[in-house]
């Protein structure tokens, strides 16, 4: 006690340790740097995104207006009411999907796992589309719990069918794709037999887009994010331990079953509510953790935050690209991420063919 705070850094491992009394924190300097850089990238993406459109606003004016320093009421309306919430939804959804994927990949020790690949997102979609079609004029706030329910049903089936005892990565993916196909068929059924008006609403929502998302959607999503992101960070050390195998994790002090349940809950909740907010923006949850792992390695304390900002950057970027390529049509962000992500998934499958 009463010792001065010390900062120890070691060149070989790139770790810095901050110590003050009984508190000691460990920071991977490289990961911290990358995290900060990516935050700046996301910030730049948001500013560009908000400034871009039929009524362009230069970046400095965007920042001024968002901070409430602008004096142009028209500009303030376009930015603060129309464009800013949409960009922030993109950030939140990207981060949630990426963290969900990072947890699922760590938990199943399977680089092919992601909530959209294994059908969790399809389950969430089915539940949300059913709600939109069956209950006209339903509030956005009800979509979250409904999608969450759908996501959990698929997760439970997946657990029972493919993952109770050490199952192979490819089996998990195959069963997940099967469940996703069933949920997809259910969604198609709802769309085919629904009322035209509800169906068109559901279709817009399904494409996976942040189009037309406003403060309402952001505010109904944020509580879920705030509820489930901290446990993800908190459980990072346990996730590292689980990566040594269940037995080793258990003998170094991790309550394996409880931790696994908590992690699965966190991952599915993040994916389900993200889908409820922006539809199925595919492959972000698969790609972001892989990209982050390339940059900072497998330690989840660094991986989870870096994956989160990577995912945010991908969705903000995809939205910007989708709007810029064909301005009259506005390609949904989900289509842009699929164009990038599908080949990436095939590459991962190809690489894992021998395992």
């Amino acid at each position: 006690m009463g010792r001065p705070m010390s900062v120890v850094s070691r060149l070989t491992t790139g770790e810095a340790t901050l110590r003050a009394g009984p508190v000691s924190l460990r920071l991977d300097r490289r990961a911290t740097l990358i995290f900060i850089v990516l935050c700046l990238v996301v910030f730049a993406g948001v500013v560009l995104n908000v400034g871009y459109g039929p009524y362009p606003v230069p970046p400095p004016a965007v920042v001024r207006t968002v901070l409430g320093l602008g004096d142009d009421a028209g500009q303030a309306f376009v930015i603060n009411t129309l464009r800013l919430p949409r960009a922030l939804v993109a950030v939140a959804v990207g981060a949630a999907l990426a963290v969900s994927g990072a947890i699922l990949q760590g938990l199943t020790r399977n680089g092919l796992a992601a909530p959209d690949i294994v059908g969790v997102n399809a389950g969430a979609s089915l539940a949300a589309v059913s709600l939109i079609v069956a209950v006209p004029s339903v509030s956005a706030a009800y979509l979250q719990p409904a999608a969450l329910g759908g996501a959990f049903i698929v997760a439970a089936l997946l657990y029972v069918l493919a993952w109770r005892r050490d199952s192979s990565p490819v089996r998990l993916v195959l069963v997940g794709i099967g469940l996703g196909a069933i949920a997809g068929a259910g969604t198609t059924f709802m769309i085919t037999f629904g009322e035209v008006q509800q169906v068109s609403l559901a279709l817009i929502w399904l494409t996976g887009s942040v189009y037309g998302r406003g403060w309402d959607e952001l505010y109904s999503f944020l509580p879920w994010l705030l509820l489930f992101l901290p446990p993800a960070l908190f459980l990072a050390r346990r996730l590292n331990a689980l990566n040594l195998g269940d037995d080793v994790a258990h003998v170094i002090g991790v309550p394996v079953r409880r931790t696994r349940a908590l992690l699965l809950l966190t991952s599915v909740a993040l994916a389900g509510t993200a889908v409820a907010t922006a539809g199925t923006i595919g492959f972000v949850a698969l790609m972001a953790p892989h990209i982050a792992r390339r940059m900072v390695g497998t330690s989840h304390g660094s991986l989870i935050p870096v994956a989160a900002v990577t995912g945010a950057a991908i969705v903000v970027g995809a939205d910007l690209v989708g709007r810029a390529v064909l301005p009259q049509v506005e390609i949904p962000a989900g289509i842009v991420t699929a164009i990038l992500g599908a080949p990436f998934f095939i590459y991962l499958l190809y690489r894992s063919r021998n395992t």
């Binding site: 491992t13 110590r19 508190v23 924190l25 460990r26 020790r109 037995d247 170094i252």
Partner: protein, 273 residues
């Protein structure tokens, strides 16, 4: 190795533990004591319940009935983290994720001593440095595990268990899949830990002769029950080997260390024919 077993206090013991997979009984009311400050080997034929016993002691399996006691408390009632502070365990054939370095692995052994606000204290740093040094893996601490030989890798895993700073180590077949030289590397390390640090070790071993040479106490299991327990010269005898392995064997005594060594010569069935 000392010939006479001292009456060491047992911190780890089992009392009438029973375990079954479906209808097959694996452990039948097994009571064993682990002498403290000694090396104990559990030996016996395939399927006699060696690993099951070790896993029950490590709290990796919950027995159907009976109790495992650690420091006088029922292990089932202790928190997982509390057990991890008192028992270091090396499960059979552990696998590390790709690219994990030796130092990272050893650091994981500090898990039970850490928390969100206590991620890397000075005692963590000391314990990891010490365990890397004792196991002799410090010279390649920053290399990834997949680049090491089998013996080096096994020593790296032991360094993880040592970093937990527990009085007792449990090892499930620590020498399986290793060649002769690498087996000695691991067993010599355990012997040295015992000599210099009074480390208590319990291991499941396949090789009777290694067990006889490196342990003070042996537990021979047969069909889920203790056949004989005691110092090597009481356990490695023609009678015990005939009973549990069904093999006729001669016992000779190693001139260098006095340990009994078994020379099997024929199957019992053949002798009866």
């Amino acid at each position: 190795m000392p010939e006479v077993e001292s009456r060491a206090v047992s911190k780890l013991r089992t009392e009438r533990i029973r375990f079954a997979y479906e209808e097959t009984t694996v452990l039948a009311d097994l009571s064993v004591d682990v002498p403290q400050g000694r090396i104990t080997s559990i030996v016996g034929p395939n399927g006699c319940g060696k690993s099951t016993l070790l896993r029950a002691m490590a709290r990796l399996l919950k027995p159907r009935s009976g109790t495992v006691y650690l420091d006088g408390e029922a292990i089932a009632n202790l928190a997982t983290r509390e057990v991890a502070k008192r028992l270091g365990v090396l499960p059979q054939d552990p696998r590390a994720p790709e690219g994990l370095t030796v130092r990272e692995l050893a650091s994981q052994g500090r898990y039970p001593h850490q928390s969100f606000l206590r991620q890397w204290s000075k005692s963590d740093e000391r314990a990891v440095a010490r365990s890397l040094e004792i196991t002799g893996v410090d010279e390649f601490a920053d290399r990834s595990l997949d680049t090491l030989s089998g013996g080096q890798r096994q020593r790296a895993w032991i360094s993880m268990a040592l970093a937990q700073e527990t009085d007792t180590l449990l090892l499930d077949e620590p020498t399986t899949y290793l060649d002769m030289g690498h087996q000695l590397e691991v067993l010599e390390l355990l012997a040295r830990l015992n000599r210099e640090e009074k480390q208590t070790s319990v291991m499941v071993l396949h090789d009777l002769n290694s067990a006889a040479r490196y342990s003070h106490h042996m537990i021979a299991l047969c069909e889920g029950a203790v056949h004989t327990a005691g110092p090597p010269h009481e356990v490695v005898t023609p009678r015990v080997i005939r009973d549990i392995f069904g093999v006729e064997a001669d016992i000779i005594y190693d001139r260098r260390n006095g340990s009994p060594q078994c020379l099997p010569y024929q199957l019992l069935r053949a002798a009866e024919d």
